[in-house]
Amino acid sequence: MAEKQMESVSTQKERNEVVADKRGFLRLAGATLGVVVAACWTGLAITKSAQKVEGANTRAHSVDEELRQQQIMAGKKMVVMTQEEKQKMLDRILRNHYRTVS
């Protein structure tokens, strides 16, 4: 009786393990698939929504760029170089050039 019980317990256990294994595998496979699907879905959603709002965005960005550019151009600072400054500037540029290409 006890033996039988033991046996049944062990088969039950085996069966349980098998089931658990199968279940675990499926769960794992399902989860993996789920993650992949979710990733794909998210990617698609991002793309789609990006495309959807693109019209509005393009405008917003370019306005932003316009204003930035205007701002940058407003910072005008022009200083005519003296002969000496020109020579020094040229020396700096040429020195840097030769250092870079060597």
Binding site: G30, V37, N57, R68, A74, G75, K76, K77, V79, V80
Partner: protein, 348 residues
């Protein structure tokens, strides 16, 4: 998700077979649905843009072997030729030796006609819609009421034939000099030049110490051996750091797929120059790299009807640019940023 709730979910799953079953089914359905939705567009993309995927996987242009470069260029030539329905060449002409390019622009000559802008668009295959332009011509009011001649010793603007417009004589400046008055690049008169205006074209200044190159996290933009700052469009990740770093706002970003009519496309291109760009990459003036490496003047120089634009080799003392540096009143735009531009503005 809180600890308790997650625990509950797990318990539920173990206790209740039906939930499990339904979830399994759901996942199965999801899988099929996902396969359909993701594979279908991927497949079409693969057939129509096979070259793009290969392009996407290629390495940095400077790091390619010669055979890799050849393959990359062949790929591009094939794609462009099909797309624009004509024979497109993508050159890999090397930088000439012993050359450092410099540019000089005479602001006392410029009449603001914008031919340089249009020439640039035609030469460099810029997008027509949305319109991308690498050169901006600013119109500024002449005259400067901020500074007086008696303040000369304090660094007041020098007067010139075309008026006192805030250009400060150098070396002894004790304060910043700005240009008073209105600035506009949407000006649209019947004829130019207008009275009481002067014009100030701005494009990439090809800095010797470029802020944009420092800002690029992937080295997609770099200085070529002739001092031109170039972009490997295929390596560019579109993060726009360079654009933010540039004090001249000389870089343009392709927010959407550029549109370029087939018959207006310039089929003579260079890998680092005017080949058609794609959405999501940065672009800017390259001194017409595809031309200057072949010995030709940049398109904007040739287009200028008044000869205000001069271009040449800074290493050659006989070049036009070096002679201008030697004999003219020269200044650089935003010199205080210390990026050492090789684009010089000058006056007669």
């Amino acid at each position: 998700m809180s600890e308790d709730k997650r625990k509950n979910d797990i318990d539920e799953g173990q206790d209740d077979g039906t939930t499990k079953e339904s979830r399994r089914d759901f996942l199965k359905k999801m899988g099929v649905a996902a396969a359909v939705t993701t594979v279908a567009p991927a497949a079409t993309a693969a057939t129509t843009k096979a070259a793009s995927i290969a392009e996407h996987l290629q390495t940095h242009f400077e790091m390619m072997s010669d055979s890799q470069k050849e393959a990359a260029i062949a790929r591009l030539e094939k794609r462009y030729s099909e797309q624009f329905e004509k024979q497109v060449t993508v050159a890999n002409t090397p930088a000439p030796d012993e050359v450092l390019f410099g540019y000089a622009l005479n602001i006392s000559k410029c009449i603001g006609c914008r031919r340089c802008v249009e020439a640039c668009v035609r030469e460099n295959n810029q997008s027509r819609d949305p319109a991308i332009q690498w050169i901006r011509v600013l119109q500024m009011e002449r005259g400067n009421d901020t500074f007086e001649l008696e303040n000369w010793h304090k660094g007041s603007p020098s007067s010139s034939r075309i008026g006192d417009y805030g250009v400060q004589s150098g070396g002894h400046a004790d304060k910043a000099v700005g240009i008073s008055g209105h600035t506009d690049h949407y000006y649209e008169p019947e004829q130019v030049p207008e009275e009481n205006a002067f014009y100030f074209p701005v494009q990439c200044q090809q800095c010797e110490d470029p802020a944009c190159v420092r800002a690029c996290p992937v080295q997609a933009t770099y200085r070529d051996p002739n001092g031109i700052v170039v972009i490997d469009y295929n390596w560019c990740i579109g993060c726009r750091m360079c654009q933010l770093a540039c004090p001249y706002w000389a870089r343009r970003f392709n927010w959407s797929e550029p549109a370029l009519p087939n018959e207006e496309m310039n089929p003579k291109t260079h890998y680092l120059g005017n080949r058609p760009r794609m959405r999501g990459v940065m672009e800017k003036c390259t001194f017409c790299l595809q031309r200057v490496r072949d010995g030709r003047y940049p398109a904007c120089v040739e287009a200028c009807p008044v000869g205000a634009r001069k271009f040449g080799n800074l290493l050659d003392p006989e070049s036009e640019v070096r002679k201008i540096l030697a004999t003219k009143k020269v200044f650089r735009f935003k010199e205080d940023f210390n990026t050492e531009p090789k684009f010089f503005y000058y006056m007669d």
